[in-house]
């Protein structure tokens, strides 16, 4: 399903992440990890902006990729200004997430951008300790899903970012604590992309895509793709969208 994926880090694809790493050796998911995650998310969106734009032009007003990219560029600048606080010095794993969340809530236009801000706020609020463990990740992502649903009033099946977030939360629900949050994120990411794939079959009932109705069938929801990029970026930079996402960018040679 993710054969089209390519990545700079060896762990970008959830499948390879699970298969190729000895998880007991890997460092804890501290503030350095969450900061790196957010920077990789920015890099992933920069790499796929043209594809995101092409996607949103088919079902929305075409500004999703640009809004997301400009929000993440501003987020990277905010992370540069904030600097990393080591766990030893009391750095919370959620601090970089909170920095990015505030940029999204305050500065990003459209409706999807601020909804990503809400999601990251809930993740940040759950990650109050020095390490983002599986319980915090689960609580944060589930809290984020609840907040996005409260505000956007979308249910699974409405063809919105909820369709990627909901299966990701389900994957976390059954993920054991001992797996560690990096493995848990890989599982969540795989579930999210499966959700993205299914949105292509749906007719939008909420959000901007609802206005194009049947014409949007066959095209996955851009917001859901954004959730897939967010979660996959925990493991590495995503340099191309999966092949089931239509777009003008030619398929890369394998």
């Amino acid at each position: 399903m993710l054969e089209h994926y390519s990545a700079q880090d060896d762990a970008a694809s959830p499948d390879s992440a699970v298969a190729s790493t000895t998880w007991t050796d890997i460092p804890a998911a501290d503030a350095a990890f969450t900061e790196g995650w957010m920077r990789r998310f920015a890099a992933s969106v920069r790499a796929t902006e043209a594809q995101l734009t092409a996607l949103d032009q088919q079902v929305g007003d075409g500004d999703f990729g640009t809004n997301l990219r400009s929000g993440l560029d501003a987020s990277v600048r905010a992370l540069d200004r904030a600097g990393t606080v080591s766990p030893a010095a009391g750095g919370r794993a959620g601090a970089p997430l909170r920095t990015v969340a505030t940029v999204f809530l305050d500065g990003v236009g459209g409706t999807s951008g601020p909804l990503f801000g809400l999601l990251l706020t809930e993740l940040a609020l759950a990650a109050v300790g020095p390490v983002l463990d599986v319980a915090a990740l689960r609580a944060g992502l589930t809290g984020g899903l609840a907040a996005v649903q409260r505000v956007g009033e979308a249910r699974p099946g409405d063809k919105t970012l909820v369709d990627a977030l909901y299966p990701a939360c389900e994957a976390l629900r059954v993920c054991p604590e001992q797996a560690g949050s990096r493995v848990a994120l890989a599982h969540a990411s795989r579930a999210a992309w499966e959700g993205v794939r299914l949105t292509a079959r749906l007719r939008a009932r909420r959000g901007r895509a609802s206005y194009v109705g049947e014409r949007g069938r066959g095209v996955p929801d851009p917001g859901a793709v954004g959730v897939g990029l967010l979660l996959s970026s925990a493991g590495g930079v995503v340099t191309g969208l999966p092949s089931f996402v239509p777009g003008p960018v030619p398929r890369r040679p394998d």
Binding site: L105, D106, G109, T111, P114, L115, G117, L118, T121, L125, A147, R150, V151, G152, E153, R205, R206, G207, S210
Partner: protein
């Protein structure tokens, strides 16, 4: 450019700056944060009331900012929802510790942006509730997930709820009163010509001479029905009866009415509308307690008008009559 403005980009900010200057005795403009707040809110009020929405509907909502009505208003760009940050900052600025009530017209963008602001307020420990204004009968459809649009009732709800808040009621009580109040309001709008879109100067939609758009919105969205325009009395009669069929007030009940110009009709015409509305309500045996006639919720320069009816008990009438000191409340 058919409109009198320096440029499309300056249309809204120039108007906001002018409004701030002209009404400096009543309102304070936080230009950086993008909201206005009342300079002299009523002392008895504990819960702050915040509203807002796209520009192009003036005097809504800014005209109803001040003692007795709204505590803060967040204007958006032309016919676009305000940003969640404006609502968040405005709500924090006017919160008095007993919570903030958001009055939100039922449009997706407004719902989402006020909703995000409410989430952020909750994280700061500020209690927040919402009254959703969805009075437009023409968008009442069982197939739609988005529900009825919010239009003329916004003015009546802002007035009545503002007076209720001035009695010192709490957040939940006010939210309940507001929701119940909206349920007692229905509106219907017609147009003989669409507004001109500032970006293009052209009509938002074309309507042949002598045709009528029945159930038009306030953003240039087309109505479900276009028909040959009947004579005024017949038109107003049909609109009134459609509203009464939805509200089902028993004979002897009291109503408050709003005869609202959409931006491009004259008072001369609106009073003609009001005459026939009053006559029909008399025929139904209803008591027309109060009527407002004028431009309250406009759609730029649309040639059309809307009727809003609110079933009113004695307390509602009392709150409607309570003094208010805002730029545009007429009484």
């Amino acid at each position: 450019m058919v409109y009198f403005t320096n440029s499309l980009d300056r249309m809204v900010p120039d108007a906001l700056a002018g409004f701030a200057r002209v009404h400096a005795d009543l309102v304070v403009h936080d230009e950086a944060a993008g909201f206005f707040r009342a300079r002299h809110p009523a002392p008895g009020r504990r819960v702050a009331i915040v509203s807002g929405g796209g520009s192009g509907h003036e005097p809504l909502h800014l005209g109803f900012l001040g003692a007795g009505m709204l505590d803060a208003v967040c204007p958006g760009q032309l016919m676009a929802s305000p940003h969640n940050r404006q609502v968040f900052d405005a709500s924090r600025a006017v919160s008095r510790g007993a919570g903030v009530l958001h009055l939100v017209k039922n449009y997706t963008g407004d719902r989402i942006n006020f909703g995000i602001a409410a989430e952020r307020l909750a994280h700061e420990g500020i209690d927040c509730a919402r009254v959703l204004i969805d009075d437009d009968l023409a968008s009442d459809s069982p197939e739609s997930a988005t529900g009825r649009r919010g239009t003329g009732a916004a003015v009546l709800v802002e007035k009545v709820l503002g007076a209720a808040a001035d009695t010192g009621l709490g957040l939940r009580e006010l939210a309940d009163i507001g929701t119940e109040l909206v349920g007692r309001c229905r509106s219907l709008a017609v147009a003989s010509a669409a507004h001109r879109t500032p970006a293009t100067g052209r009509s938002a939609f074309d309507l042949a001479e002598g045709d009528l758009e029945w159930g038009v919105g306030i953003h240039g969205e087309r109505a479900r029905r276009t028909e040959t325009r009947p004579a005024l009395d017949e038109l107003v009669t049909r609109m009134t009866e459609e509203l009464l069929a939805a509200l089902e007030p028993p004979a002897g009940d009291s109503v408050i009415a709003l005869v609202n110009g959409l931006g491009g009709v004259t008072r001369l015409e609106l009073y003609g509308v009001a005459r026939q509305l009053a006559a029909r309500l008399d025929r139904w045996g209803l008591v027309l307690e109060r009527v407002l006639v004028g431009d309250f919720v406009t759609a730029l320069d649309m040639r059309g008008f809307s009727l809003t009816l609110m079933r009113a008990d004695p307390e509602t009438v009392k709150w409607f009559d309570a003094p208010a000191h805002t730029p545009s409340w007429p009484r």
